[in-house]
């Protein structure tokens, strides 16, 4: 192993409201562990399955347009890796939540609280200490207490917001037909089609 310093430095909080270690470009990581009450062990798998099967339930997440990827995982046992690891039987199930978003930490939590109030109650209502999504002050404090800072965070396209990505993908769909047909058109027809494409794609530019 390479020699490394054992001194760790606390990462600076940034204008985005989170540690610089949770940031890569405009992408921000949030990682939260919470401990689940007994009823949540039965309820959450059902909630996850229903949410996965009904995309309409995540429409608000799509509309919010600042979350790239998010996940919820339940941990009810710790994988065992041999004699060196003392086996730990968990008394509680724990929930791992992560999100990859852009914007500011404060705005992210505000949006979650105000717009996804019901969803928040469903996903975190069985977590010990969850204070309800509103008012937002206690909720922010709860997230801060349960949040764990990343040691290393990576985005393959760190300067791209989700709005930019969705616009770029939508533009690709609009541009593709013109790219295919441009060479077969007469110049005036092409100019008209190009102008129409730009008009149609205005929101994606």
């Amino acid at each position: 192993m390479n020699p490394v310093s054992t001194t760790t430095t606390a990462a600076k909080a940034t204008a985005t409201g989170t540690s610089s270690r949770n940031i890569d470009g405009v992408a921000i990581a949030i990682t939260v562990f919470s401990t689940i009450k007994l009823w949540g062990r039965a309820f959450l798998p059902i909630l996850f399955a229903v949410t996965q099967r009904r995309p309409a339930l995540t429409k608000t997440l799509v509309d919010l347009s600042f979350i790239h990827f998010a996940r919820w995982s339940l941990i009810s046992e710790i994988p065992w890796n041999g004699q060196e690891q003392k086996k730990q039987k968990l008394r509680y199930t724990h929930m791992y939540f992560e999100s990859n978003f852009n914007g500011g930490w404060e705005e992210y939590i505000d949006a979650f609280s105000h717009i996804l109030t019901g969803g928040m109650a469903a996903f975190w209502g069985s977590s010990y200490g969850f204070p309800k999504a509103l008012p937002v002050g206690p909720f922010k404090e709860y997230i801060q207490v349960n949040e764990t800072e990343a040691c290393h965070y990576y985005s393959a396209y760190p300067e791209a917001t989700i709005t930019m990505i969705q616009a770029a993908l939508a533009l690709d769909d609009k541009l593709a037909p013109l790219k295919r047909s441009a060479a077969k058109m007469d110049p005036d027809a092409f100019a008209a089609a190009y102008k129409k494409m730009l008009t149609d794609a205005q929101r994606s530019l």
Binding site: Y96, A168, P187
Partner: protein, 184 residues
Amino acid sequence: MSDPNVSGQAYGFLAMMPIKDGEVEPLRAYLEGFRDRGERPFHSVPRTHMARFVIVPDFHNDKRWKQRKEERLEIPSLILSSNLDLDGQDLDSYLDELAEGFAPHVADIWGRCIGGPTDPQDLKVYLKHNQIDCGFFYAAYGQATVPKVKASLAQRDKLMDFATRTQGMKPAALQKAFIKEFPG
């Protein structure tokens, strides 16, 4: 039943691995040092959209939460989380690519975990053994691969530039320039 780790063609991988006694801070320093050293090892694993390493020192307990009993995480753990492209392939092939991309770092990262490999060839088996499934995985553009996202972003920039440059151009010249810059 559909795979809860999958959304579109995107896959949410998560592994939680116990860290050897006395190795938490050296491991933390090594991982945090990537940025200081200007290294982006996930860049060598091109199917990765977004990924993170997190060290979990303990579970959170608070007397105010009225939890019947405290629960401590007896061994601090390393989390590796990756949002990746399947794109017609499987998780194994991604973990092979991860092992190859992280080859210079395997001993420094997973060698500090209990039962963890120092040889990249053993990494895939170790990660799969310690994988934790998603309950629910959300991907905003789960159909788009990393190359597709990057190409679309570049094309959008290019079109905005093109539209500015070609304002007022005659149809024939515009068509010729478009075909040259945006081949079908």
